[in-house]
């Protein structure tokens, strides 16, 4: 028998499979399809202080082996998530969930974490994943994740708002991702997760205009897997905190490859949108894949 358990900042996960933020809503759409308690955990939709509609449509464009999205952090705002989404999730999911937080200033990130942490549903939250890498919003998001000083500022602001582990979600749209990771580690981040999407664009030859209303979007899907794997490998060597690997993961084999590159756990994003049952299937297939490659345990 193989052991699929992993440790993520002191919390044991039954397996390393974590649906990524923005591809799994607040769990409900999937919780009605299958028992989502089979997952290690999941990272819910990026939540900001105020409700956001996001960008104009079209927000989605297809690419070879992947997709661009420019959703722009649509979410109902932290208070509605506390009041409606998490109580509804409580009936479906009985493990600690990863709370994904976005913002437009260090103070906003801190305020969202504070509201979650002091809410009646805070016991549902295992970790905060702080998204400093959204490429689709202006004046916030990725701008914090592309400079070590700004990244450190966000970590400092949220670090003192909670005793729960803080995971910083990093952008690949930088020259050296390990510099950002090291800055986060120095300020007290408990883990980093990477990669968010790679900035890209498409033009419609018929209309001669960008496909996305936002012009640019974030590339995800199998196309980015080798880039993500390389960045996870480099970052895991550069820091002493856990690295969560993500980017194009779509099978149990991809999960194992990410973990061999140094990931402590693995997030699955775009694949959920194409096959809503993919994470359930990866969890199911993982033990056999481990046996096939002679891996008896995943815990570091």
């Amino acid at each position: 028998m193989v052991d699929t358990r992993v440790d993520l900042c002191g919390i044991t996960l039954d397996n390393p499979v974590i649906p990524a933020s923005g591809t799994f809503g607040y769990g409900y759409e999937f919780g009605v399809l299958y028992d989502i308690n089979c997952l290690g955990t999941f990272s819910f939709k990026g939540t900001t202080l105020n409700p956001r509609f996001g960008n104009e449509t079209p927000r989605i464009a297809e690419c070879p082996s992947g997709m661009l999205n420019a959703v722009g952090l649509q979410n109902p705002g932290v208070d509605t998530v506390i009041r409606e989404e998490l109580p509804r999730l409580a009936g479906l999911f009985h493990k600690p969930v990863m709370a994904n937080v976005s913002g437009f200033s260090p103070e906003e990130y801190a305020e969202v974490v504070k509201r979650f942490d002091r809410s009646p549903v805070s016991n549902m939250i295992g970790w905060y994943e702080i998204n400093i890498s959204c490429p689709n919003v202006h004046g916030g998001g990725m701008s914090f994740g592309t400079d070590p000083g700004s990244a450190a500022e966000v970590v400092r602001a949220v670090r003192w708002m909670t005793d729960k582990p803080i995971i910083i979600k990093l952008s690949p749209n930088v020259t050296d991702i390990t510099e950002i990771a090291k800055a986060c580690e120095t300020e007290g981040a408990d883990a980093v997760s990477l990669i968010n999407t790679l900035m890209g664009m498409r033009i419609d030859l018929k209309t001669k205009r960008p496909v996305l209303a936002n012009v640019t979007g974030g590339l995800s899907g199998p196309a980015v897997f080798p880039v993500a794997l390389r960045m996870v490998y480099q970052t895991a060597k550069a820091v002493n905190i856990p690295v969560i690997g993500m980017g194009g993961v779509s099978s149990a084999e991809d999960v194992l490859e990410m973990m061999m590159a140094g990931a402590a756990a693995v997030e699955v994003g775009a694949a959920n949108l194409v096959d809503p049952f993919i994470c359930r299937d990866i969890v199911r297939d993982l033990p056999a894949a481990m046996e096939k490659y002679g891996i008896s345990k995943l815990m570091k």
């Binding site: 591809t23 759409e29 939709k45 509609f53 070879p64 949108l273 194409v274």
Partner: protein
């Protein structure tokens, strides 16, 4: 929503750009006309969302327009080819609001979901079908065969009313006709014209089916959101059918 494997049992050209495909498989996930299916194609990352045109006990009929690489590839799928399909997606048309004089208005490739709607409502509706020209007409005889009264409008005047679906509607109103409720699907400029003419001017409430580029098709990614009076709606999950009263137009 259900995920299953479906077998292509028919795939033929209806007009120069429009094709009909019949898929054999499970239909129990489908609960209303106006819902859609989402088809996985080899070599393409995202699925192709296509509205349901008709149903039998063991098959789904779709009519699709060749618009890009994916739909072009669909035309080459042979009899017996198996497809991974998500079915029963979206919030379809509510039939209970049809009333005693229902009106259906369809434009181009927006027409197919109205066929199942027409088949399932009683009394049979008046159907206005808009096409660019006579060459691109399809489903006209099928609507007639189920007892619907069909009025065709073509933009180039090669068949029926010379003009748009709203011109055909004007002619009916000028003849003193009245309608209880309308169902529509078509390109956005047509939907806007129908909204202004039929809902705002003539005061008839209706249900409108929208199209948008989708990521998942089941409400997870927020790729196809629209602002309405009742907040943000996902075209794939809260739509594609929305009510005239909810729209911010």
């Amino acid at each position: 929503m259900k995920q299953d494997i479906y077998t292509v049992i028919e795939n033929r050209r209806l007009t120069p750009t429009t094709w009909l495909m019949k898929l054999e498989g499970e239909v129990r996930g489908i609960t209303a006309p106006g819902q859609f299916i989402n088809i996985k194609l080899d070599g393409h990352f995202l699925r192709r969302p296509i509205s349901i045109c008709d149903l039998s006990r063991d098959s789904i009929t779709i009519i699709y327009k060749v618009l890009g690489h994916g739909t072009d590839e669909m035309t080459r799928l042979p009899y017996g080819h198996q497809l991974d399909v998500l079915t029963g997606l979206g919030n379809g048309y509510s039939r209970s609001d049809a009333g005693d004089r229902p009106l259906l208005i369809g434009g181009g490739v927006g027409i197919p979901p109205l066929y199942l709607t027409a088949r399932l409502i009683d009394p049979k509706p008046t159907v206005i079908l808009g096409f660019n020209n006579r060459e691109e007409m399809f489903l006209v005889d099928e609507f007639k065969a189920i007892g619907a009264r069909v009025i065709v409008a073509t933009a180039d005047g090669s068949e029926g009313v010379n003009g748009f679906v709203t011109d055909a509607f004007d002619e009916l109103i000028a003849q003193g006709e009245t309608f209880s409720h309308f169902f529509t699907c078509g390109p956005e400029p047509m939907l806007r014209a129908v909204y202004d003419k039929v809902y705002k001017e003539a005061g008839i409430s209706g249900q409108m089916s929208f199209e948008e580029r989708m990521g998942c098709g089941f409400g997870a990614c927020m790729g196809c959101s629209m602002k309405t009076k009742d907040g943000y709606k996902r075209i794939c999950k809260d739509g594609p059918v929305l009510r005239t009263e909810e729209l911010l137009w």
